[in-house]
Point group: C3
Chain length 267, copies 3
């Protein structure tokens, strides 16, 4: 393993700490994202109102912000949570879902980026578009390969001082200096809604465990997702059976299995 | 097969085109509806805010609007999306969930009907009530048989120049001139929440494939739902297992199976 | 069986009456809570807007209010529904999710408590905090045992003239005079999101059946949940498979099985 901290260390510490992860995510993702966090051993809480998002963020180990089903009121809650996260030194993850699709989304993403996310996770089209490149995304689904988003990811990481994770058939993670490629998962994963959004929440859970190591935490979370995806796909007959087998796999996976099966290489 | 365009043609073209379906649906339906669309091969996006619903609708192949968990802010987003759909010649589907239950819902439905839906889908009580008839619905569940809604459906189709689909144990679809009856499905379907709402989204996906043939698209979508329901019910032990088997069936169903099993007759 | 009305009587009457349960619950719980109610045989409706929540509440057999993903607009809908419930003599259930976490939540809970809930359901930390005791909850998950919440539950029941249910590994239900302890369930239940919230909705469904017997209704609902949890856990390999097996079990459970397996003792 090339990593200074193996994924199993994060998984072990996560299950000991049971970190509270404050998720502001979209309506579609709420159920599956909460179940992903509970299955792996974390404690999710979905809290979005501007009246309390900042106060609640200070109680959490990490905050994740996803603009999937954005509205003005929720954006104010996202801002409050991001500001509180930064002020209290908590890692926070930005998931700029289809930020290129409308002016409302572009403006919101620009605003949130200025608040300094610790980690940015998106699909290839989202990351390319965020870096100002030519992308082919349609709606919330990517139209580009992760391979073509590598340059954009490095550029974004430098520009924002953030860890950037591009996820898809193969995943790419960089902090601007280091970069890893992760293989695994299943073709069924994009056939289940909001698994990318759920991964954003899982990245938050791993980052909460060791707030000083967001790059390694992101790699560990993405690797855990990929391995659980492979395990679940083995016995699945379609997206319906994959969905619950994936949760079972996240619950059953242990450290040795994770480190053994994780396919992380330098990129 | 009595249909000019068999269901398999729509299914094949849907999987080639992967249409973007802009769904404004209720909170309960979001997850299952997105999973239904992904399982069959379409690309769902849930976008509701008035700030962007109109802009986003122009990117989509079809728009679906469901008033299940209505609020004033969402109604403005629905209006913007419906207007944009009409302006850009995109088919849009109205699902007037329990529109008879409160004044707020009745007014909203009246407003949306004036914006000219391409297709209206509801259960028998909703369709009867929409046409001004005596209905027995309670909450969001029907208290009437589809058989008793046929006259109301024809009346609505004429009045609004729309395709009307009444779904239930048996389904009835009319454009005012032609009418089909579709058998199939399973008694477990009303035991899983929001399957009717998900069907509305599926109708949108099929309508996106051939915007000029909303009647045939609706029949094809409803037939696909009915066949997948039958296939899923075969091995299910209750509503929980039915739910994921249904998604697996939607993913696995192919053209020959669909046309062979679809029970569509003139009505 | 120590109960004056056995759980099976409620279950039988519920399936005959198919009560309409008006649920104002959080975004995470919407899907699973609706499926829990449909699986057992009730008719759920999620309606939250202040424009219609009061009007809709009068149509329902019971109302359930859960502050999980609270916002100001929803709070106004909750108030309207609670007032309408009280005015029309309908039982209503309060689920004060993580009410101790922020000022916004504390104020909202205080407001709702003044509207006189028929039944209050929470985890041990929530019930202890509500009674003014020292609690160890973090986020939405309990940090206390039900055993330590018994005194607080009795105190709350007296103070508000309400039935109080504390649920967890073991459940405790009191109306201030009588008290029962219920065993059962599964360690997988807290690993599936929003099962506690779903139980709140199920308590509403049982209370709708016999509005004059909220204590017995709560015991019956909690016992049904515990038995279904045990049945589902038998064959489950993790939280994903537990979730759908639990819905299957709720659909399959019958009166004799329920009364035979329910482990209700005086507490």
């Amino acid at each position: 393993m090339l990593l200074q901290i193996p994924p199993s260390t994060f998984l072990k510490e996560l299950r000991e700490q049971i970190p509270l992860v404050h998720c502001i995510t979209n309506y579609v993702a709420m159920d599956i994202a909460a179940n992903v966090l509970l299955a792996v051993g974390a404690s999710p809480a979905m809290v979005h109102a501007e009246e309390e998002a900042g106060e609640f963020a200070k109680l959490a180990g990490a905050i994740t912000i996803n603009i999937g089903t954005l509205s003005s009121g929720w954006l104010r809650g996202m801002e409050a949570a991001a500001i509180a996260a930064t002020q209290s030194g908590k890692p926070w993850v930005l998931d700029p879902v289809a930020h290129y699709a409308t002016a409302f989304r572009r403006d919101a993403t620009e605003l949130l980026l200025k608040l300094g996310p610790t980690i940015i996770r998106g699909n290839a089209s989202e990351i390319i578009a965020l870096a100002g490149g030519a992308f082919r995304g349609k709606g919330v689904d990517t139209g580009d390969d992760v391979e073509h988003a590598k340059h954009s990811a490095r550029l974004l990481a430098d520009r924002h001082g953030a860890v950037v994770a591009v996820t898809g058939a193969v995943d790419f993670i960089t902090d601007g200096k280091r970069a890893f490629r992760i293989e695994g998962g299943s073709v069924l994963m994009p056939r289940v809604t909001a698994l990318g959004c759920s991964l954003t929440c899982l990245v938050g859970a791993f980052a909460a465990v060791r707030p000083g190591a967001p790059f390694e935490a992101t790699v560990a979370a993405v690797a855990t997702f990929a391995v659980a995806g492979e395990l679940a796909a083995d016995k699945s007959e379609g997206p319906g059976s994959f969905s619950w087998r994936f949760l079972d796999a996240l619950g059953a996976i242990d450290g040795p299995c994770l480190d053994h099966r994780a396919r992380v290489t330098t990129a």
